[in-house]
C-alpha cells in the first residue's frame, strides 16, 4: 500500500515537472523574440585567439548586439584545433538562439572542404545571421623586390611564397597562384601572419597573400609592397592596386582555378548560430544585426580594429553563398588535395 502511494507520488511529481518544463519551453517559444532576448545571457563563442583581428571585430559586434537586443553576451575564446573545437561546440549547441559565434568563416569553410581532422560541423547548415566585414586577398612582395610584373614572377627561379595559419586560405591561394601562373615556386607556412610579415620584410620570402586591409598596413609600415588584388574588381581600400585579371589574361582552365578565389571565396567575418534556430528568432537577430551595421558609433569603432570594409551581405545571402560553395566541395577538395600533394609534400 505504502509502495503504491510512493510510486503514485513519484509519478505525479514527474508529470508536474514535465508540465512545468514543457510549458516554460512552450512559453519561451511563444514569446516574441524581442521579449525573449531581453535580459537573457548569450553564450558567444569566438574560435580565435584573444587579440586576433577576428576576436576584436567580434567583441565590438557583441557590444552593440547586446545594446540592441537587451541581452548580455559572455564571450569565450575556444580556439583549439585551429578553431574547429569552438565551431564544433557551437554546432552541437541547443538551437535556442542563445549560443552564437563569429569568426573568419572562410577559414572554417575551407577546413570543412579539405576534411581537416577535428571538423565535425557543417558550414551550410549553420544559422547565418549577418556578414560583418568582407575583404579580398592581396598579393604583396618584399619592399625591395625586383618583381614588378607578372612576367617577372613567371621568369623567377626558386620563388618562395609565404603563408600562415596551416593549410588554410593563404596557403591554398598561394598554391592556386603557382598552378595558374606556372611559377617555379614553393610555399613556406609560418605559424602566424606576424612571422610571415617579418619574413617578407627580411627578404627570406618573396611574396605572400594576405587580406587587403592587413596587406595595406604592412605596406604603410614599409614591410611589403602591394602587387595585385585577387578580386573581380579593384578594392575600395586600395583603389590604385590592379587586380590579377588586369595584369594577365589566363587560359580558361587556369582562370577557373583563380575564379574560385576572386569571386567565391574571400575574407569574411560572419555572425552565426547553430543549425535549427527558430525562424522568428533568426529573423530578429538578422534585423538587430542590420541595425548594428548601420549604427554610426559601431562604424567608427570597427574602423579602429579593422580596415576591412563593412559587408553588405545579409544572413540569407550568406546561406546561399556557403550552400553553393559546399555543393562544390568534392571538386574543390580534389583540386586542392592534388596541389597540396604536388607542392607541399
Amino acid at each position: 500500500m505504502q509502495l503504491k502511494r510512493g510510486l503514485s507520488f513519484i509519478m505525479v511529481m514527474t508529470m508536474a515537472g514535465l508540465i512545468v518544463v514543457g510549458s516554460s519551453e512552450a512559453g519561451a517559444a511563444a514569446q516574441k523574440p524581442a521579449d525573449f532576448y531581453r535580459g537573457k545571457r548569450i553564450d558567444f563563442i569566438i574560435p580565435n585567439a584573444p587579440g586576433d583581428t577576428s576576436d576584436l571585430i567580434a567583441r565590438v559586434v557583441v557590444k552593440y548586439l547586446d545594446k540592441y537586443t537587451g541581452a548580455t553576451s559572455v564571450i569565450r575564446n575556444v580556439r583549439e584545433a585551429g578553431g574547429a573545437q569552438g565551431l564544433n561546440e557551437l554546432y552541437r549547441a541547443k538551437p535556442d538562439g542563445l549560443t552564437l559565434g563569429q569568426t573568419n568563416t572562410v577559414r572554417s569553410t575551407l577546413a570543412e572542404i579539405m576534411d581537416q581532422p577535428g571538423v565535425e560541423y557543417q558550414t551550410a547548415k549553420l544559422s547565418w545571421i549577418a556578414n560583418i566585414t568582407e575583404d579580398y586577398m592581396t598579393f604583396s612582395v618584399a619592399p625591395k623586390s625586383p618583381f614588378k610584373t607578372i612576367a617577372d614572377l613567371k621568369a623567377a627561379k626558386n620563388l618562395i611564397l609565404a603563408a600562415s595559419g596551416g593549410v588554410g586560405h593563404s596557403t591554398l591561394t598561394c598554391l592556386a597562384l603557382i598552378e595558374a601562373l606556372g611559377l617555379d615556386a614553393k610555399v613556406i607556412i609560418y605559424k602566424s601572419s606576424g612571422e610571415r610579415s617579418l619574413a617578407v620584410a627580411q627578404g627570406e620570402v618573396q611574396g605572400f597573400f594576405g587580406s587587403t586591409s592587413a596587406s595595406q598596413q604592412g605596406a604603410q609600415r614599409g614591410q611589403s609592397r602591394l602587387f595585385f588584388v585577387l578580386a573581380a574588381k579593384r578594392s575600395s581600400v586600395i583603389p590604385d592596386v590592379p587586380t590579377l585579371r588586369e595584369l594577365v589574361q589566363l587560359p580558361k582552365d587556369k582562370a577557373a582555378i583563380m575564379k574560385l578565389w576572386e569571386e567565391d571565396i574571400f575574407v569574411m567575418n560572419s555572425l552565426f548560430g547553430p543549425p535549427g534556430i527558430p525562424k522568428e528568432r533568426l529573423s530578429y537577430l538578422r534585423e538587430m544585426a542590420a541595425k548594428v551595421m548601420k549604427d554610426p558609433e559601431f562604424k567608427k569603432t570597427i574602423e579602429k580594429v579593422s580596415d576591412s570594409p563593412l559587408s553588405v551581405m545579409s544572413g540569407s545571402e550568406l546561406e546561399k553563398q556557403f550552400g553553393s560553395l559546399l555543393d562544390r566541395k568534392a571538386e574543390i577538395k580534389q583540386t586542392y588535395q592534388r596541389l597540396q600533394d604536388k607542392y607541399l609534400k
Binding site: 585567439a49 584573444p50 587579440g51 586576433d52 583581428t53 576576436d55 576584436l56 567583441r59 564571450i75 569565450r76 575564446n77 575556444v78 583549439e80 584545433a81 585551429g82 574547429a84 573545437q85 564544433n88 581537416q116 581532422p117 577535428g118 618562395i160 596551416g166 593549410v167 614553393k186 613556406i188 607556412i189 609560418y190 605559424k191 602566424s192 606576424g194 612571422e195 610579415s197 617579418l198 619574413a199 620584410a201 627580411q202 627570406e204 620570402v205 598596413q217 604603410q220 609600415r221 614599409g222 614591410q223 579602429k304 580594429v305 597540396q340 607541399l344 609534400k345
Partner: protein, 490 residues
C-alpha cells in the same frame, strides 16, 4: 629622443597612470603565483575591460600585469615545485631543493631579486636600442633562429646530473612528444589518434605541471614525508642572503638578462629557451657543476634573470614591428589596436613618448612587484612547513586548475595526471625530467625552423655570420667545460 624619454617619464608619473600600474601589479602578483595562469590568460581576461580606457592607463595596466607575473611565478616554483609559468621550471631545479633543505627564504630572495634585475636592466638596453631596433631584428631570420634553438638543444646533456645517456634519452623522448599534433608545413596530423584535443599538440602547461608538481606530491607521500622543508636552517635573513647572492653573482645575472632580452626580441623563440639556455650555461661555467639540481644558487639566478628579461624585448618588437614577440604579446597587440594605437615604426618616432612610458612602466612594475614579493617572502616561506596532508590538496587543485585553464578541456587535467605518473617513474629510475621538458619545448621549434631554413637556404643554411658566431661560442663553451673536467681529474 631625450625629450621623448622625459615626456614618457612624466606621463608615467601621472596619478591615473600610476594607479593603473599599481592595479596591474597587484592583480599580476596575486594571479601570477597561481600555476599555469601566465600573462596569456591574464591578458585574455583583462582585454574586454581595457576597452574605452585612455591608452596610457590601459596599456600601463596590462604591461605592469604581464611584467610582474614572471616575478611572482618563481615563488610557487621554489616553495611547491610547481612552476608558476613553464619558463620557471628551469630555476625550479635548484630553488625547490633549496626549500627542501630549509633555505626557502634564500631561494625566494635570489629568484625574485634576479627576476627584478632581469626585468629592469634590459629596459635600458631596449631604450638604447630603439634607433637600431628594426635593422637588428631583420638580421635574425629562420636559419639564425634554427641555430639558436640548436644551441638550446645542445644543453640537453648538460642538464643530466648523473648519467648523460639517461639525460639524452629523456631529451629525445621530449622531442618525440613534441611531434604530436598537426604539422603545419605538410598539413599532416601526427599521433593525434583522430582526437581534436591532440591536434594542437600536448599542452606544455599540463605536461610541466604534471611532471614536476604531481610527481613531487606522489614522491612525498611514498617517502612518508610530512613537510616540504626537511629542516629549518635559516631565519628570515635567508631572503637577504638570497639578494646578496645575486649581487655576488652580478655578472651571471647581467649576461643572463642580456641573453633573455635577445631571445625576447626575436619573435617565435619563446622565453623557455632563454631560461634553459642560461641554466645550462651557468652549470657549464660553474666551479661546482655537480651542485646543480641539488640547490645551486647560480641555477636559480641565471634562468630567473633571463626569463623576466624577455618581456622588455618582446614588448619592443611588438611596438616597433606590430609583430608579437610572444603569444601573450599577441593579445597585448590586440589591446593596442583596440585602444586606437597602431604599433609599427610610428611607435619609435612620432609616438616615442608612449613607447618610453610603457618601457619605463616595465621597470617600475618589476621594482614595485619584486619589492612586494620580497617583503612577503617571510610569510610565504612558512608554506614549506605546512603538513603535507593540508598542503597537497591545495597544490593538486592549483595544478588541475592551471592545467585546465590552458585549454578549457578536462583532458588537459588527465594529461597532467598521466605526466605526473610518468615523471614519478622517471624519478624512481633516475631519469632526469628537465631534459624531457627542454626537448619538448625545443623539439617542435627546431623542426619548424629547420624545415623553413632548408627550403630557403638548402643544407648549408647555417653558413651565415650570426649562426657561425653562435656555433663558435657553443663549441668554445663545451671545449672549456671539457678542459676543466680533464684538469680536475689530473
Amino acid at each position: 629622443m631625450l625629450e621623448a624619454l622625459v615626456a614618457g617619464a612624466v606621463t608615467l608619473l601621472q596619478p591615473v597612470v600610476l594607479a593603473g600600474m599599481f592595479l596591474g601589479i597587484i592583480v599580476g602578483l596575486v594571479v601570477g603565483i597561481l600555476p599555469g595562469v601566465g600573462p596569456l590568460v591574464l591578458y585574455s581576461l583583462c582585454l574586454p575591460y581595457v576597452y574605452g580606457m585612455k591608452p596610457e592607463v590601459a596599456l600601463g595596466f596590462m604591461v605592469a600585469l604581464g611584467s610582474v607575473v614572471s616575478t611572482a611565478g618563481p615563488v610557487t616554483a621554489a616553495l611547491l615545485n610547481v612552476p608558476g609559468e613553464t619558463s620557471s621550471a628551469a630555476a625550479m631545479q635548484d630553488s625547490f631543493p633549496m626549500t627542501q633543505r630549509g633555505e626557502a627564504g634564500r631561494a625566494i630572495g635570489a629568484a625574485v631579486f634576479s627576476s627584478m634585475v632581469g626585468g629592469v636592466f634590459p629596459v635600458f638596453i631596449a631604450m638604447a636600442m630603439i634607433p637600431v631596433m628594426i635593422p637588428a631584428l631583420l638580421l635574425f631570420k629562420s636559419p639564425e633562429k634554427c641555430v639558436m634553438v640548436l644551441v638550446g638543444l645542445s644543453f640537453l646533456a648538460t642538464l643530466a646530473s648523473r648519467s648523460v645517456y639517461k639525460g639524452l634519452i629523456a631529451g629525445m623522448l621530449g622531442m618525440l612528444l613534441a611531434a604530436v599534433g598537426f604539422q603545419d608545413q605538410t598539413g599532416t596530423a601526427r599521433f593525434t589518434f583522430g582526437t581534436v584535443f591532440l591536434h594542437q599538440g600536448i599542452p606544455l602547461t599540463a605536461l610541466a605541471l604534471g611532471m614536476f608538481g604531481l610527481t613531487e606530491i606522489l614522491d612525498m607521500y611514498v617517502e612518508g614525508e610530512t613537510n616540504i622543508a626537511k629542516s629549518l636552517t635559516e631565519e628570515i635573513s635567508g631572503v637577504l642572503d638570497g639578494i646578496k647572492d645575486v649581487i655576488r653573482h652580478w655578472w651571471l645575472c647581467v649576461y643572463s638578462s642580456i641573453i633573455g632580452y635577445i631571445v625576447g626580441i626575436i619573435p617565435g623563440i619563446g622565453g623557455s629557451v632563454a631560461s634553459w639556455v642560461c641554466y645550462g650555461h651557468a652549470k657549464m661555467t660553474s666551479r661546482h657543476p655537480e651542485e646543480f639540481g641539488k640547490g645551486a644558487i647560480e641555477g636559480v639566478i641565471a634562468p630567473e634573470a633571463a626569463d623576466n628579461a624577455k618581456e622588455s624585448g618582446a614588448l619592443l618588437t611588438t611596438m616597433a614591428f606590430g609583430i608579437p614577440g610572444s603569444s601573450s604579446m599577441a593579445i597585448l597587440l590586440g589591446a593596442f589596436v583596440l585602444l586606437g594605437v597602431t604599433p609599427g615604426p610610428d611607435m619609435l618616432t612620432t609616438k616615442l613618448p608612449l613607447a618610453f612610458t610603457l618601457l619605463l612602466g616595465v621597470a617600475f612594475a618589476n621594482i614595485v612587484g619584486g619589492a612586494i614579493c620580497l617583503i612577503w617572502a617571510k610569510q610565504l616561506c612558512r608554506i614549506a612547513f605546512v603538513h603535507v596532508d593540508f598542503l597537497t590538496p591545495a597544490i593538486v587543485v592549483m595544478i588541475f586548475v592551471g592545467a585546465f585553464v590552458g585549454t578549457y578541456s578536462i583532458i588537459s587535467v588527465l594529461t597532467a595526471i598521466a605526466f605526473g605518473l610518468l615523471g614519478y617513474c622517471m624519478k624512481r629510475l633516475e631519469y632526469p625530467r628537465a631534459p624531457l621538458i627542454l626537448g619538448f619545448i625545443l623539439g617542435g621549434m627546431f623542426e619548424y625552423y629547420l624545415s623553413i631554413s632548408l627550403k630557403v637556404k638548402g643544407p648549408l643554411f647555417f653558413l651565415t655570420p650570426i649562426s657561425l658566431i653562435m656555433i663558435a661560442i657553443i663549441i668554445a663553451l663545451y671545449g672549456y667545460s671539457y678542459l676543466r673536467t680533464v684538469r680536475k681529474k689530473v
